[in-house]
């Protein structure tokens, strides 16, 4: 499903990521561990096609990322990859429901409102459908971000530090949601974190 070979990312002379080989099969749940600055976020950005690698190859579902460019790459990402960014980045001027519908809309897919409402119900956000992001707690906002990432039934679900400021209970429930959603979509899950608590939930780990 995901295959990385000879990956290098440099800013000027400084090398911030070097990964010789990494393979993840469809449906596997991976934990990418490393201290701050070890290049976890960079790896996720490269896999999502948000950054172009200095060297190396990335293939997702048989698609070599170097072969897609511009709007086609954006569209491919929108349909194939679900991303939960560290800072969540919900769009503040839109309602929760609209934030979810933004994913299919921007990926050029039909606006499946039933799926959006179903996801919100599954994540116990039903009464927040028309709320604005600033009216949500951090935990609720994170669940909206997870729902948004799952909206288009991606093949690859990426989450960057999803347990950052959460207490133990919320930490595990967030990880549980990510795993549930990737299982439901049949997606490969990659969670990047420095949080050692996450180890308990993942048997496949990549240390950077």
């Amino acid at each position: 499903m995901l295959s990385v070979k000879g990956l290098r990312q440099r800013y000027g002379a400084r090398e911030i990521l070097a990964l010789e080989r990494f393979e993840a099969a469809a449906g596997e749940h991976w934990l990418v561990l490393g201290v701050s600055g070890s290049g976890k976020t960079t790896l996720l950005n490269l896999i999502a096609g948000l950054l172009e690698p200095s060297a190396g190859e990335i293939e997702v579902g048989g698609q070599a990322l170097a072969a897609v460019q511009g709007a086609a790459l954006d569209r491919w990402r929108g349909r194939t990859v679900g991303i939960v960014p560290q800072k969540l980045h919900l769009v503040p001027s839109l309602s929760v429901l609209q934030n979810l519908l933004l994913a299919p809309y921007l990926a050029g897919l039909p606006l499946d409102e039933a799926r959006a409402l179903g996801l919100l119900e599954a994540l116990s956000l039903k009464e927040k459908v028309n709320a604005r992001p600033h009216q949500l707690s951090h935990g609720q906002a994170q669940r909206v971000a997870i729902a948004r990432a799952a909206m288009n039934r991606p093949k690859l679900l990426l989450a960057d530090e999803p347990t950052g400021n959460l207490d133990d209970a919320n930490c595990f429930s967030a990880l549980q949601l990510l795993q549930d959603q990737s299982r439901e979509c049949g997606a490969t899950l990659i969670v990047a974190t420095h949080d050692q608590r996450a180890k308990q939930r993942f048997d496949k780990r990549l240390e950077l």
Partner: protein, 399 residues
């Protein structure tokens, strides 16, 4: 909350999220558009009205003096005449072979601000006037009222009134001619011309009021002669011949009103420039607002890229926002402009007939609306380009 989701809905959501800023931009643009629209509407209507009043009058002949004053007094009836000319001279001129038609005017008095004009039936016919009631004057001291004069003065057929010296406004107590009252014998239907605010009577009535009675042959005078040429060639010779006469002055309504517009034109240009500056300021304000908003929204835009939106979509989104602001501003501005013109018309109804109307669409207004949209588009261009170029990964990480 609106559940539909597309670029206009997203743009609108952003504008709604910052209503004060959006309102300020819309208002600035609207004021600029409204200023220019009012100028267009008012100047075009006044111009066409003056053209209508002067149509078919090739030359005005009156007492020696300023040709502009002569035209303003005898054609548009917005100035006092400089003096009178001897009837003998007028008769000689009317018989000139270059003159097809000569309409005499004897001015001097008014009733409640509406000028009393001693003339012939030709004058009413010249503006295609039709009677709404009664008949035209047949003998001295019979008067026919223009539509607005009749309405404002509250006079109907059969009523009697006495004129006052000069253009004495509403002053009913001004020194008048109470001993020589007029009788209203007819009221004209509205013509949309200067005729609507005149009181017409025979030349003899004016002489009668001014006491030339008794010594009939002595110094009979009229104020002006409205002349229509028999041939276009007359334009080259007749004015010169008239001006060679030490007692006569010729004035061309076309030339004098063009001269007047050139003088007023400077003021109109200044106001128009002022309106355009307002529109430009609005453009600058939209530019600053969008640039600032972009700073706050770079995360949103990066997320949109993350979710699959191409660069062109974000570019389009920001352009759309500028365009949306401009479109609302333009629509509001045009509405304001037309409303203001209507209001000006209503306030000046007593002096202008028919009143200025805001219910009129000029082709220039399409250009005005297009210009406003262009301002919004250009203002949004630079921020949109920045959004187009922004790096997604960098922005997402810095949040």
């Amino acid at each position: 909350m609106n559940r539909a989701l597309n670029l206009p809905a997203i743009s609108l959501a952003y504008l709604r999220a910052r209503p004060l800023g959006a309102a300020l931009n819309v208002l600035l643009l609207a004021l600029g558009v409204a200023t220019v629209a009012v100028l267009l509407l008012v100047s075009r209507q006044i111009e066409s009205r003056m053209h209508g009043d002067a149509r078919g009058i090739d030359l005005v002949v009156g007492a020696k003096g300023s040709p502009m004053q002569l035209v303003l007094a005898a054609v548009f009836h917005i100035d006092v005449p400089g003096g009178n000319i001897p009837l003998e001279e007028a008769k000689k001129l009317a018989a000139h072979r270059a003159v097809k038609q000569a309409i005499p005017l004897a001015l001097g008095d008014s009733y409640r601000g509406y000028r009393i004009v001693g003339t012939t039936h030709d004058y009413a016919a010249h503006y295609g006037a039709k009677l709404a009631a009664g008949k035209l004057w047949q003998q001295p001291m019979q008067a026919v009222l223009g539509a607005q004069a009749a309405r404002a003065a509250g006079l109907a057929v059969g009523a009697k009134f006495a004129g006052a010296h000069g253009m004495g406004g509403d002053a009913g107590e001004a020194p008048g001619h109470d001993h020589t009252p007029f009788e209203v014998v007819g009221v004209l239907a509205p013509t949309g011309s200067v005729l609507d605010r005149l009181v017409l009577t025979s030349v003899e009535s004016v002489w009668h009021v001014h006491g030339t009675h008794g010594e009939k042959d002595v110094d009979q005078e009229i104020t002006a002669l409205l002349i229509r040429y028999a041939t276009p060639l007359a334009a080259a010779t007749l004015p010169r011949q008239v001006n060679a006469n030490p007692q006569l002055q010729a004035g061309s309504p076309a030339y004098e009103s063009a001269r007047l517009f050139r003088m007023i034109g400077v003021g109109v240009e200044v106001l128009r420039a002022f309106g355009l500056v307002l529109m430009l300021a609005a453009g600058l304000s939209v530019f600053i607002a969008l640039t600032n908003a972009l700073q706050e929204r770079r995360y949103d835009l990066a997320v949109m890229r993350m979710l699959g939106a191409g660069r062109t979509k974000l570019f389009g989104l920001l352009l759309l926002e500028g365009l949306l602001l401009a479109a609302i501003g333009a629509a509001l501005g045009l509405a304001l402009g037309h409303g203001a013109t209507q209001l000006i018309g209503a306030l000046m109804q007593a002096r202008q007939q028919p009143p200025l109307t805001g219910l009129l669409w000029l082709n220039e207004e399409w250009w005005l609306a297009g210009g406003a949209l262009a301002v919004g588009l250009i203002a949004a261009l630079a921020p949109a380009l920045r959004a187009y170029r922004a790096s997604v990964a960098g922005v997402l990480a810095e949040g």
